[in-house]
Symmetry: C2
Subunit: 365 residues, 2 copies
Amino acid sequence: SRDGLADAEQAAEFIERYHAENPEAGPAAQRLRWVRTEIDLTGTYRHTTDELTFGARIAWRNSARCIGRLYWKSMRVRDLRAVHRAAEVADQCVEHLRQATNGGRIRPTITVFAPDAPGRPGPRIWNEQLIRYAGHRTSDGSVVGDPRYTEFTTAARALGWSPPHHPGPFDVLPLLVSTQDDPVHMRVLPPDAVAEVPLSHPEHPWFAELGLRWHAVPAISAMRMSIGGVDYPAAPFNGWYMGSEIGARNLADTDRYNLLPVVAAHLGLDTRSTTSLWRDRALVELNIAVLHSFTEAGMTISDHHTESDRFLKHLAKEEKAGRRCPADWSWIVPPMSGSLTPVFHRYYDTDHLRPEFVSDPSSEA
Amino acid sequence: SRDGLADAEQAAEFIERYHAENPEAGPAAQRLRWVRTEIDLTGTYRHTTDELTFGARIAWRNSARCIGRLYWKSMRVRDLRAVHRAAEVADQCVEHLRQATNGGRIRPTITVFAPDAPGRPGPRIWNEQLIRYAGHRTSDGSVVGDPRYTEFTTAARALGWSPPHHPGPFDVLPLLVSTQDDPVHMRVLPPDAVAEVPLSHPEHPWFAELGLRWHAVPAISAMRMSIGGVDYPAAPFNGWYMGSEIGARNLADTDRYNLLPVVAAHLGLDTRSTTSLWRDRALVELNIAVLHSFTEAGMTISDHHTESDRFLKHLAKEEKAGRRCPADWSWIVPPMSGSLTPVFHRYYDTDHLRPEFVSDPSSEA
Ligand code: HEM
Ligand code: HEM
């Protein structure tokens, strides 16, 4: 909870589940007694590293909006709860990116910083993702870069960030971290921690000349992780990209990079009538470019057909394990070619399970 | 209800809504008294033609899965409650198709046959839509035509339907109508009542040689219409097609015509890897062909971008009228290029409102 007090009921539920799914950890009774006592004495309790590792993986497994859950068991969990100072948090976010990028073979990873405790809130990372591009508002009101982050960009500038002399569409934003003792720490990401892929198209040479690029690692940093009644406000995690997140949303949404008119113009499509489906055609070519470029660059990426197949495999495995798997249809079905993917043609359990990742209202789009 | 008894509470709620939205009909009190008395005496009550017309339009307005509701006020309502015999029902379905097709300027239309009454159930139309294509199971287990209708096709044959000597992929199924007195009546649709569009592509001449076609009027005939506690089991209604219903579902679903591999092969796409997005490319070209062919043939059709814009306009109008508009996200968002349409980027009210169209479990896919 926000005041750092651990919910005893959620704690008990989590400890029981931990022991149920990890029989080698022995019976839950003794640990339960200790946790209860620790909560009585201190208002909260400390997870063992094994509990934390398990809890983080289950928080992923329970993420109803995530199509990528097949590999939940193998996520790397970095236990950095000892880290409290903002500069160290920033250091370790950089280290997270290096380890997760892994030269292109991207590894799903979570770095867990100190939890909220009574009178001692954990650190917070202001960025929605560790790597995102600035949105520079120009004097005519238009935006160079990612319009989603114009406010963040303004805040970063106010805190002293100097964007490049010629602000461009893909200027990596600095990290902003705050802790109880350090109201705000700004950190420019070192270029070698930020893998990026310049975009080209396998058939259209002009595509590369558009100068588009995207970062290789999607690392969500603004969600709270809640495990057994304990809140970890800073616990950035990453998977790899499903191509359509970049090609159908980040680069295509009209309130993001809005690139379909540009791509369509270069494709020579008739953009006067929606019925020519020029948007749909440009969308497919943009997504082909994303998948092609990442693959060429040796960066892990997957297409929406592959991730849909994997997700159905995950559902089957969960069912076999006797567990319900919550899923949110409108998030699971990819944003393009929905009905071509098998995940479109069924319904899902919608239970809300814990542990979980939670968006704070202030960080919701 | 299924036993023909009208629900008095639903009756009162409907009559009140009718008078609230139609002030020119005067106050509801007297009509309410009469309806209550009629239900007490006969178990049900008779809608006036005005009430029926209003009720049918509101049933459309309340259809949470329908993106096409902007024009709910102008639907033509054919009051054919006097029609009880199966042969007449079939006649009037044919007449419905003629009037709705209207030489290509398709008119949203509903034909309302007799309701269920105590001891006298209304007629039933067995077909899911008035026009659909047979699915002929061949000796090797494969299907020629629409696999969705293999069972219906078998039933029609058992009842005496003779498919063409060389069964083809687009053989229009006969109507099957049953009433209390006529256990089953079969009617072959006269060709002039079935407008069809041969499919061609604006840029690829080979496309026309695939010999594909689709019928112009989607007329759902297996849903019950429920108005003020009275059930109309036979009330076929039609709009016009949104192209993606044909191009992304009927012709593309793997358990329907499954044509993407065929289209992709003719486009010369690399179908060995899903990452080439060959399915997505073929999907767009197939949908371009559908929209192009209908337009060339002078048949009303709309694309998913246009219908999405119209639906948002509808939502705005409903809000302005002070009404909630229920909508089911997973049905409203088109099956292709979801995030390109504005309907993707929001949530909807999900209340369940009456009057309504209801799928009987037996007719659900
Ligand atoms: C391994 C590769 C992964 C893939 C391909 C994947 C894919 C996705 C996709 C496509 C979305 C929807 C994003 C959007 O539409 O904005 C999503 C959401 C989400 N994923 Fe994953 N994911 C992966 C790894 C992970 C990991 C490691 C975690 C956590 C440990 C995770 C947790 C979540 C959560 C919490 C959301 C919802 C985010 C929100 O509410 O904004 N995912 N994922
Ligand atoms: C005027 C043009 C219309 C358009 C473009 C349109 C469009 C659509 C679309 C795209 C669907 C989803 C179909 C699917 O995915 O299977 C749908 C469903 C539906 N529409 Fe419409 N519609 C129109 C007219 C009507 C009319 C006149 C009615 C009733 C009077 C109606 C009632 C419904 C209902 C009840 C459903 C849900 C069907 C089910 O549950 O299977 N629509 N509509």
